[in-house]
Subunit: 95 residues, 4 copies
Amino acid sequence: MADDAGFGALPSAAPQSLTQSAREKLKQIISRIESLEEDKKQIAADIKDVYAEAKALGFDTKALRKVVSLRKLDRQEREEMEMMLDLYLQALGEI
Amino acid sequence: MADDAGFGALPSAAPQSLTQSAREKLKQIISRIESLEEDKKQIAADIKDVYAEAKALGFDTKALRKVVSLRKLDRQEREEMEMMLDLYLQALGEI
Amino acid sequence: MADDAGFGALPSAAPQSLTQSAREKLKQIISRIESLEEDKKQIAADIKDVYAEAKALGFDTKALRKVVSLRKLDRQEREEMEMMLDLYLQALGEI
Amino acid sequence: MADDAGFGALPSAAPQSLTQSAREKLKQIISRIESLEEDKKQIAADIKDVYAEAKALGFDTKALRKVVSLRKLDRQEREEMEMMLDLYLQALGEI
DNA sequence: AACGCATAAGTAAGAC
DNA sequence: GTCTTACTTATGCGTT
C-alpha cells in the first residue's frame, strides 16, 4: 500500500536526506499510529453496534445517548472536583 | 434548551415503569458502551503519546500528521473507487 | 444539562448591563448571522431541488452523489498535495 | 479538471452507453450542484468571518452561538405552531 | 415510517 | 495566549 509515502516529516536538521535509521523510525511511527487509529475506528463501530442492538430491543437510542452523555458530564464534574481538592491539599501543604 | 429530553429511554410500551429485566438489560447496555468509550479514550491517548514521542525524536509532528491524513485520504479514495465500481456493476446487472 | 449557559455574551467588562452601542452592535451581528444562515439554507434547498430534478430525468441520485463526492475528494487531495508541497518548500527554506 | 468523471450516474435504462444528450444533461447537473456547493461554502466562510469580527469586538462567541441556536429553536417552535394552526383551521373548514 | 447516512455544529486539542 | 485544525456529537435527509 502506498508505502513509499515515507517522504518528509523528518528531523528538522536534515530535511532532504533522511538517514536510514530515521527512515526506519519514521515507518515505525506511522505504522503504530495507523494501527492505533484502526483500533479506535473498530471500537467506534462496536459502540454503534451496541446502540443498534439496544434499538432492536426497543430502547430509544436518542435518549440512551443522552443518558450516557449526562453520566459523562457527572464524571467530569467529579474529576474536576477531585482536581480542585488536590489543588487545595497541595496549597495547604505549602503553608 | 436541548433539555426537552424527550424521554422514553425504554421499550415504548411501558414508559414509566421499566420491568426488572428491562432495567437489567439497560444497565448492561450502558455499561458496555461506557467500557468501550473508555477503551477508545485510552487509544486516543496512546496516539497522542506516539506523536509526543516522535516529536521528542526530532520529527515535525505537523508534517507527520499531514502524512498520516494524506495516506488516509488515499485509502478513502481507493475505497470510494471500489464502491463506485460495485455501484456500476450493480447498475449493469439491472439491465 | 448543556443548560449551564455560561453567559456573558458581551464585552467582558460589563456583563449584566450592555451599553447601548454594544446592544446595537450585538443586534447587528445576530442579524447578519441569521441572514447568512437563511441564505445557506436556501442554497441547500436549491441543491436538493437539482437532485430531485435529476431523479425525475431518470438519473440515479445515489450514483450522482457519489460522483460529486468523488470529484470533491479529488479536489481535496490536490489541495492537500499543494499544501504538502508548500510545507516541504518551507522546510527546505529553513535549512 | 478531472472532467472525464462523467461516467455512470445514468438513466437506469441504458447504463453503459449514455446518449449524447444525457451526457450533456449530466454535465449540467453536476456543474450546477458543484456551483451551488461552492456558494454554500462561501457563505459558511462569511459566517465564520462575522463570528471572528464579533470576537474582535469583545463578544463571547460561544455564548453568541448559543443565542443564535436558541433563537433558531424558538423559530422552529413557532413554525410548528403555525403548522398546527393551519391544520386546525383546515380541520375546521372541513366541518 | 423507521433506519442508516452524511453533512453540520460544537467542542477540545495543538501550533504559533 | 490566541488561533486554527481535528474530532465528536447531533440533527436532518434520503432511502427502504
